[in-house]
Symmetry: C2
Subunit: 334 residues, 2 copies
DNA sequence: TTGAGTATAGCAAACGTTTTCGCAAATGTC
DNA sequence: GACATTTGCGAAAACGTTTGCTATACTCAA
């Protein structure tokens, strides 16, 4: 039984239209009345019912954020970016994690539509995003992709250049003198993994090298990096360097390599991609390619809010951010 | 211009009450009509407007989650716990991070009330929670605290026993033979930090020891642990062991200790509290006291949903979870 | 045939706002 | 002092649902 505008109206002996206007500082209302009503509202402990407001204004002031895995330290940082920008602009964010499952993604998409979020920021679980497009091509709700650059030219997104990430990392390894470089990937149908792998392959090619190790895929989890590496090391042809699809994987790779009795970087160099915060921890000192994680989130939030504010402008905005090589101590020259 | 119940009613040539009932499988509607209407709804791409529904049912099927810092790997895990439980029960969660700032906490609390969330799970930024209580003592919206056990006997919460965390950790160190044990804390007015510190002090006392090092406080950040430790090491009286208020701090502590030229654990043992996922990484192998993080989130979600479902039952439910000592390799006996 | 009972479906109010339109009183203009 | 303009406010519709009550048309027993 919370206090509504009508209660205030009754108490102030005015119509509830007046209360509504007074509270939103409408110029039609006299200063005196405004003051009176505002005081009353405060005293009575009034909180506007945004649900009711949304019904008529068709704006919920909330944006949906769909990410695969909040447990991978990469995502909290982008979440942080969107949340803080959203907060500063009066929006709140609905957190949805898909656990890389497309059916969860679909269900959340539906739920967000039902909940009338004003916009959606999504890091898609897999490469195929047709279900997202189709869910929103009616298109009153703006969508921006993060960590993913869709082929569809009409989609807005902000992502770092994954191809370049893979390329840069591999190139660095090549420059260090490595020729036997393996790639340990995450989810096979993840687009960023695919592009990183592409970059890796092209870098090899640019040095006249063929793929020597068949690409390995699992999940974007430390455990997966660990297991895939174990598997990799079974064979005699041990690489001098391993590029992991991301930092979390790289941690697993290191663990497996050292458990195998090899030293990092002495015997095998290991590189990650992402630059999660623990990569810089001295005991780890993971050489990696950094993505501007918080910035990705911030930009995405900025774009989505701008899109919300000018719904007529349907032109997609695309931001591709530059990765940055971070040299630490898990790679050595040979 | 999305399709509404009225559109379907028009198309089906029935009243919109019928449509509403058909879609919610009300027994009053014939199977035939239901089938027809459901098909129509699907074909027309109908998505219920939950906003409108909420206005009348007074349930938004969303719960607010307020945490201090999504960037500290501790919190994503509890977030994960609540989110997945919520998802399974048809709820979605509104993510609010306060960055340990009480004014953000207040503003979010207000926003959540406005947005009519059905319940709130909150890890308070600081010890004083009067603003939370006062905001919700009207009390139709259930609140459960996590990571925090309020003094107020009417509050529901789920938390691990922070006092015991501190005690256990310190006791372990004492058993290893350490007598000069320093404590590096986080936020000074954080209740969990305070209780952990209490546990630490009591453990010392149980061994007949006084506080030897004045308690140090900063933030719950790696950098803070690093800086405080640097400061601690300035003095001649270097401890043989350092207990950090949490794992993230501990990482900073280790960094500072080693940078100072001391070995962990050879010269100084370091302990954390929380057992964040990276603590188990081989290169770190942080000895710590584990909290069941995901479980905390899950339980909190379970409790809040149960409370939402039986609003008449106001009895607080309190879960205090047991910490678990995790012995790894940053502590040695002396 | 009548009356009660049951299966379906419609009417209209309600949820708490915002907003369009209109109207009366106050003020300004000559 | 007559008219136009401004100021301040109220009436009521609208947003998209759900739901209590009512209404119709059957069925079936007496």
């Amino acid at each position: 039984m919370s206090v509504t505008i009508k209660d205030i109206a009754k108490a102030a002996n005015v119509s509830y239209a007046t209360v509504s206007r007074a509270l939103s500082d409408h110029p039609d209302i006299s200063e005196e009345t405004k003051k009176k009503i505002k005081k009353l509202a405060k005293d009575m402990g009034y909180t506007p019912n945004i649900i009711a407001r949304s019904l008529i204004t068709k704006a919920t002031k909330t944006i949906g954020l769909i990410i695969p895995d909040i447990t991978n330290p990469f995502f909290p940082e982008v979440a942080q970016g969107v949340e803080s920008y959203a907060y500063d602009n009066g929006y709140t964010v609905l957190l949805c994690t898909t656990n890389w499952q497309i059916d969860r993604e679909k269900r959340y998409l539906k739920a967000l539509r039902s909940k009338m979020v004003d916009g959606i920021i999504i890091a898609p679980a897999i490469d195929d995003i047709s279900h997202i497009i189709s869910n929103f091509n009616g298109g009153d709700t703006p969508v921006v992709f993060v960590t993913y650059s869709p082929d569809d030219p009409d989609c807005s997104f902000v992502a770092t250049d994954d191809y370049k990430c893979g390329f840069m990392a591999t190139e660095y390894l090549l420059k260090l003198g490595h020729r036997n470089i393996a790639y340990i990937g995450g989810l096979e149908n993840s687009s960023s993994d695919r592009r990183r792998f592409e970059g890796y392959r092209e870098a090899l090619k640019s040095y006249g090298l063929q793929l020597r190790y068949s690409p390995m895929h699992g999940q974007f989890k430390q455990m997966s990096g660990y297991e895939l590496t174990k598997e990799l090391l079974i064979y005699n042809d041990i690489p001098t360097a391993i590029l992991a699809g991301n930092d979390v994987l790289a941690l697993g790779v290191i663990q497996a390599v050292e458990e195998f009795g090899l030293k990092v970087p002495d015997s095998v160099s290991v590189m990650g991609i992402d630059d999660i915060s623990f990569a810089s921890f001295d005991k780890i000192s993971l050489t990696t390619v950094a993505q501007p994680k918080v910035k990705i989130g911030q930009l995405a939030a900025e774009i989505i809010i701008q899109k919300i504010n000018s719904p007529q402008d349907k032109t997609p905005v695309k931001k591709v951010l530059e990765p940055r090589l971070i040299i630490r101590r898990t790679c050595r020259s040979i």
